[in-house]
Symmetry: C2
Subunit: 351 residues, 2 copies
DNA sequence: ATGCTCTGCTAAATCATTTTAGCTGCGCCG
DNA sequence: CGGCGCAGCTAAAATGATTTAGCAGAGCAT
């Protein structure tokens, strides 16, 4: 790999100047007194030889690698990881940096290993990412360089990047209220564990907070709140069946994420109820599935790409301590409509 | 980052030996004549100082970085990328290597940039990945070190890792035949572009080949073949509606991927037909959605994690030129049953 | 006594860069 | 005529490892 590349010495020789001169010209050093002609010659020589500096040598001297570490707990189990990484990749490229990626799988030994591997390679900074928004303790080993938490907060006030779940919840509920839904809004996805323990989730309490505040401001209460052990389709399905067995039926439900909403869709489909005519559904995340559902699901999108980008910007350009919130854009699709007048009756979709 | 680490010189000094001795001991060099006591002292000193070698310095000398490049066209748009990366990450870690990740977004300029960035950093090898199985020309710049194609083949016979789509198709169709489906099997997802142009897809023709061969061996023909402009849910939905408007109705459909199958599920749900009682459905990929559908979708899983792993194994351990096929395990869920006796009638799911 | 081999170790070169310190020659001032 | 400053450049050190070449001393044979 990278056989016989031209070195700085080659460039200098071809330009008829010293390595010092070549180095200074190529690095665009200010305040050097090298002649315009010297500049010309160096550039020409570098061009002719296709010179590219050897990063290993440069790093050895400068202790900079133009490389930043992206260490995450789990990349595979969530399909959002890709977006986080893409955003980080883009921002890194714009600043001529490159990403060294590792994964800890939540395992302490792997984490130690990963951190050491990064440190050995003299990364210029670290993005420490969690795939579900939660609280993370930064291993002390990486303090000493810039560290930014992505999708996580830390006990000590470190810069971090988070989705603005609370604002998203506000937007979602306001959309429902704007369509005329009032006292028959139900919530699917309450979860004591997620809401109570910041090690588990930051998102859950924020979403709940936003929902409650907005409803309270409009002086309406929730018709029902369904607890779910996990935020998976099967739980959304069960919750929706349960809601449908009760009276009165909700005119709208907000689901804590799209997978729950998907389960809710399934239950509604089986019950022969139409979305949004019989029941409106809104949710969080903008999982790809949200666009595939029929009708498309209105949901607040996790801005993963922008978050990834922001994280490396904070690492490279520096940033204030504490959280930096990225807004979650509302994707308006077809799952919201005004509640039907009177008591809605089950109806069949066309065959 | 990585402030004042102990250097080899420090270790040597503490051990009361030369750098040469320390280096040789720590690298476990054979054939050196250093005493057992010298070994002891070096290890003790390294331990005491928490010595870790500086990779930049080492790479400068050895031209090895214990780093491999993972360059892909697009990571974000597919949720499988995560699995590919995870597999690669695992294999890399096992061999004490680390992954430098970049993305070309299919853009030639970005690709050039990415390749140069990798080469500047003296990566030991390159995994060149496409997110949809297709043909890729390896940029000549990276020849000279090991290059393995992931999810892609190249015109020149380079080592590459591919899912075994053909075998998967065989398994899927055999599962249908085993349940007694014969002449009323339909296919959703024919696509001339994908089937005809290896730059676009390798998977499509392989899947089609497997399906046809298996049916031919059992001496049965396809009831219908639906062409789809893309492999998205809406196209699967339309195709299934079309199939249902015809007579006789299929007893089973094989979809070219899970997103098409999802669309087919939607159409069947709306038509009030039950899976698998009225129609069996099988498909390819094992998208997360396959497990979320009701009933779970029987599908041949893209073995992305194993593929990612295999690719870095080939880079590091060397491997024969040409394709290395990774089997696609069949995920048997609830979407397949024996065809109903007689003419199936529309039926309603319980409300 | 000389030379040879073997053991156990080390000095110094090397890798490709950045950076510090300083050199050379010229013009100018006093 | 001596010294000073400046323009334009360079030699050499430094970064932290690996590796080549070889040294000092002991043992042994001649």
């Amino acid at each position: 790999m990278g056989r016989n590349r031209a070195t700085l010495a080659d460039v200098a020789r071809l330009a008829g100047l010293s390595k010092t001169a070549a180095s200074m010209v190529l690095n665009g050093r200010e305040g050097t007194r090298l002649s315009a002609e010297a500049h010309q010659r160096v550039f020409a020589a570098a061009e002719e030889l296709g010179y590219r500096p050897n990063m290993a040598a440069r790093s050895l001297r400068t202790r900079k690698t133009a490389t930043i570490a992206f260490v995450s707990d789990i990349v595979a189990t969530t399909r959002f990881a890709g977006d986080l990484i893409r955003g980080a990749l883009d921002a890194a490229r714009e600043r001529d940096h490159v990403l060294l990626i590792t994964e800890t799988q939540g395992d302490a030994a792997f984490e130690r290993y990963a951190i050491e591997a990064m440190l050995d390679r003299q990364v210029d900074g670290v993005v420490y990412a969690a795939m579900a928004t939660r609280r993370l303790t930064v291993p002390p080993a990486i303090l000493g360089g810039p560290v930014v938490l992505l999708n996580a907060v830390s006990p000590d006030e470190r810069p971090c990047v988070l989705p603005d779940d609370e604002q998203a919840a506000v937007a979602l509920v306001e959309a429902l209220l704007a369509h005329g839904h009032r006292d028959r809004i139900a919530l699917i996805g309450r979860n004591r564990l997620k809401e109570g323990d910041p090690e588990v989730s930051i998102a859950a309490p924020a979403r709940l907070r936003g929902i409650r505040a907005t409803l309270a401001a409009a002086d309406v209460g929730l018709l029902a709140e369904c607890f779910c052990a996990e935020w998976l389709p099967e739980h959304g399905y069960a919750a929706m069946r349960n809601l449908l067995s009760r009276s009165p039926r909700p005119t709208a439900v907000v689901c804590m994420n799209d997978r729950l909403a998907f389960g809710a869709y399934q239950a509604l489909g089986e019950a022969g109820l139409a979305i949004p005519e019989d029941i409106s559904v809104v949710s969080f995340d903008d999982d790809p599935i949200a666009a595939w559902l029929r009708p498309g699901l209105t949901t607040a999108a996790l801005p993963h790409e922008r978050m990834g980008r922001r994280a490396v910007e904070l690492v490279l350009d520096g940033g204030d301590a504490g959280p930096s919130y990225v807004p979650m854009p509302l994707r308006r699709r077809r799952s919201v409509a005004a509640p039907a007048a009177g008591v809605p009756a089950p109806r069949r979709a066309p065959a």
